[in-house]
Amino acid sequence: MSEVVTFLGLVVTAMVPFVLVAQGTMLSGRAGVFNVSQEGVMVLGAVIGFLVSYSVGSNLVGIAAAAAAGAVTGLVLAVTTTYGRMDQFVIGLALFFLCLGTAGLLYRVTIGVTLTPPRIPTLPDVSIPLLSDIPVLGPVLFEQDLMVYAAALLSVALWYYLYRTDAGMRLRSVGENPKSADSLGISVARTRIWTTTAGAALMAVGGAYLPMVYTGTYTEGIVAGRGWLAIALTFFGGWRPQYIVAGAAFFAGMDVLALRAQVQGIGIPFQFVSMLPFVATLVVMVFALRWVRVPAFLGRNYDRESRLSG
């Protein structure tokens, strides 16, 4: 029983980076900007979050700094694609490289090569009174760190905003048919810029969460493909906040399962277990795409003077 509770608790923790990064991808994608720099932005967020937390002594400041750095990359992506009308995938990949290089350089310059890397305190668990006393559900859902609650609240807020408010509907219209949106007086450029900036900030926070919850220190390869998996998760969740949370449980479950099987050993070579999340994602994509509708204008740039786009 307690085995199950521990496992589920780990899954909920592992969901956080997936949820944050996929919601960030979804948010800008809903306005038509397909960001593919997740993996790099997460690495940058992890490094900046770790370094700032280490030097300031506060994880929250570290998270804020990571968010700011992520926002800058999102702003670059948004401005170059909206005003320069440059290819979203090309700029996204270029930012991916730039983030990797910057992250590596920052870590090397401030910490260098050490045998015992410096540590930061991991995020403490916060129990919610009363709710945490519920059997099974309590310890799994309500004895977690603050970021778990933040990610959950964010997902609810995004769902409410996108599907229950006028502003959210206008935002979605930009990703579906920017010409109509434009003709109704919605600023396509402004919508794309704020969603992409905010989305990239979320991705960086998702990266910063990793050293703060798992190891307490930054190691190269800590992101380990989660950024790319989060893109898959966004498709899997049909670009809707509520399904993204549900899908994240699957991705996080794979993550935890692979890790546990490696530690305990289950008779087959552990390398095949570590393939599992990626193979499972590929298989799931095949089925997910049958019912998923992606935003119609995803990945394309809007030119109000062109007769073709609309």
């Binding site: 593919v36 170059t80 320069g84 009308r85 440059m86 290819d87 979203q88 995938f89 090309v90 700029i91 990949l93 270029a94 930012l95 490289f97 730039l98 990797l100 290089g101 910057t102 590596g104 350089l105 090397r108 310059v109 380990a224 493909g225 790319w228 998996l229 893109i231 898959a232 498709f235 070579p269 390398q271 095949f272 570590s274 393939m275 999340p277 990626f278 193979v279 994602t281 590929l282 994509m285 095949v286 795409l289 990945g299 394309r300």
Partner: protein
Amino acid sequence: MTTVEVQPAPTPGDEPGRAGSARGTSLLWAGLPYLIAVLAAFVVAGVVVALLGHSSAQAFEAVLTTSFRTPLGMRETLHKWVPLVLQALAFTIPLAAGRFNIGGEGQLLLGASGAAAVGILLADLPTPVLLPLVLVAGVLAGGVWAALAAWLMVRFGVNEILSTVLLNFVSFALVDYLAGDVWADPGAGFAATVPIGAGGELAGIGRPPLHVGVFVALAVAVCTAVVVRRSVAGYELQAVGANERAARVHGVRTARVAAGALVVGGLFAGLSGAIEVAGVQGKLIEGMQGNFLLLGIIIGLIARANVLAVPFVAFGIAVLEVGASAMQRRAEVPAELVLIVEALILIFLLLSDVLAARLRRRLS
């Protein structure tokens, strides 16, 4: 999914009678963004180096001259050029059809695994039999890995960026299994297989010895340029990339062309892995993919998906890469800086394209 400019934009001033000067102007317009981008990237890097408290001049000298000062430096550069040019082509050919192959390193690792498997299992065969087998096994293994992504793309509509990336991670685990378990060399001290048979190794030519893979890569690059620019298949490839709907209307089987482009990219990446095994390492090593994938993508994008430009851009990046480690040794500037420089060259190049287009519109 997306459109990528395959050819540089047409330039004004192409009136008859002024052909000579028009060609000169168009070359200038084509070259100017590159010049601006490289200069701007180096200025930024110079400022960063200075801020870190090192000498920018010393760092630049190490980066730019290491390849040319000694024959050994040139050999290292050419050996680095081989995987770079093949990885760049593996990215560029699908890009010409508007598809993004981000799976070059997985395809390289599969190619290396295939080559190592043949080289280890049939180690006793003589060179004329074993070497071709090693190379072919590598090429085919890379092609199969890309074909998986192509099949998912055509049959199920799975985004090829995702499928190729996810397959990379599967290949990491596979290499870990092969090099750390199946054919592990316990004496190596890290995850590596036992060496392949001597008959599977590429010969070296000259002094210091340059492995034959350099010439294989050169031949592949030349053939690719000819096929893409002068054949029906190459024309269809570019047609799909330029305007997929128009190509389909005119009877091009676009899905087949796109899938074929991905598979050809995989074959090239597989070849790069086989050459790394047969020419450089002599075995399969975990982590041997380095950052060839990133560099291949950067090269392909800087070359603007132009297969003729790829070998030259790849050479420039190889010079930077070889210089980077020298810079770290001599000027104590972290080698990561070079990745930033390369990404900045790309971003500034794209930016100056936009600016040049605006400037040209205003002038005309």
